[in-house]
Amino acid sequence: MSTQTGVDAAGRAPVAARTLRTDRWWLQPAITVAVFVAFIIYSTIRAFANTAYYAAPYISPFYSPCLATNCIPGTGELHLVGSWWQLSPALLVLVFPLGFRFTCYYYRKAYFRSFWLSPPACAVPEPHRSYSGETRFPLIVNNAHRYFFYAGLVLNVILTYDAILGFRDAQGHWGHMGLGTLVLLTNATLLWLYSLSCHSCRHIVGGRLKHFSKHPVRYRAWTFVSRLNPRHMQFAWVSLVWVALTDAYVALVASGTFTDPRFF
């Protein structure tokens, strides 16, 4: 249902059809919803599962860093949260990447279009009577994206560290590499690409400057990020899917369903 304030507002050219678009404009939002819902279901189950997230030397990215004392031994000593925490330790960590992605400029486009239908596609009327965008709580919180970006950087360092630990074997000796190592490395790389192509990152490294010519180093950094930035959407999708696949891989190995092939 369209509203009287939109394309049907007084004075505008009235057209009976809701939209005259003849292409499959609904396909893109439909795919977005399908993938997001699948990810949300999977990640919720896995986050609460509190099991099969560590198969030495691999730790699932959902559970790293493991901050509670109820973590499986071997998953790190950084127990910032005491023994009172009884739930899945994943919940302590996941809030940061989720916040980073929820406030991300690309994901905002994706969910505003496909979940909130505001608008579902260009020039297709949205179903809402009123609209205030990101001017009020809660959506004004999206302006805090850069803080989630900083947190995301910390997590990237930790997940990179985890991937490097994948070069040790289950006993802690260096000189090992398995398929899991490759999975974790790819995961860390994709997360770096996603983070570094972020719009806030682009602003922070140099975009905020008025005179690039006075800051040659930051200009080069900005130019680098600007080259990655147009692919932010692709990095967002690929890294999202890969994080889930990484977790699934660790789960399969940890549960003994699958044996990690060892390269050396």
Binding site: P125, G133, N143, A144, R146, G207, K210
Partner: protein
Amino acid sequence: MSYDAHLRVWRGDAEGGELVDFTVEVNEGEVVLDIIHRLQATQAPDLAVRWNCKAGKCGSCSAEVNGRPRLMCMTRMNTFAAGEPISITPMRAFPVIRDLVTDVSFNYTKARAVPAFSPPPDLAPGEYRMSQVDVERSQEFRKCIECFLCQDTCHVVRDHEENKPAFAGPRFLMRIAELDMHPLDALDRKRQAQDDFGLGMCNITKCCTEVCPEHIKITDNALIPMKERVVDRKYDPLVWLGSKILRRS
């Protein structure tokens, strides 16, 4: 190579109107505007349409073809199947005047609200020095041909007439970004962008970028950088604290 196309052209005025069916000859290589001109010359001499250069440089012939905001002069007929009916309507975010012509004065009102370029007062003509790397960002935005397709497609005003007073639209938020990035502009335009021109209403769904015939990356290069600059000024406690401390020292 010529064939007859089935056109559905919106005809009417502020009082009302409807899609009217026409059958018009189409020849090889023609664009939608050619077909509209043939319609004028042969069947509907009083069909109202705006156009000027017919080369995608002036931004006059904005309309909606099959529901998508487009320049008629840059929409080739061979992008449609020969038998497929093609609908052509005026831009739907603005009041219609007649047929394909709309009242775009909203845009000129907004243009007049954006504070003008404000150079340093002591700089004489001929003494301006700017580096190419410093002007490039604003130059991209100055490619704008003011076809107002971004304004037309932006759901903030397209779907909500009541937002028009508070929201300048992508074209003029981009103009603010252009001035904010101008190496010699002396005004600070960040609070203004958020408080007076409604940057916070933008939910970056990128339709403006999608329809831009000049392929300006409006969202990525103007709106989001401007949002980030607003965060610096309004929402980032660290930047705020830093600027306070630096100013004191």
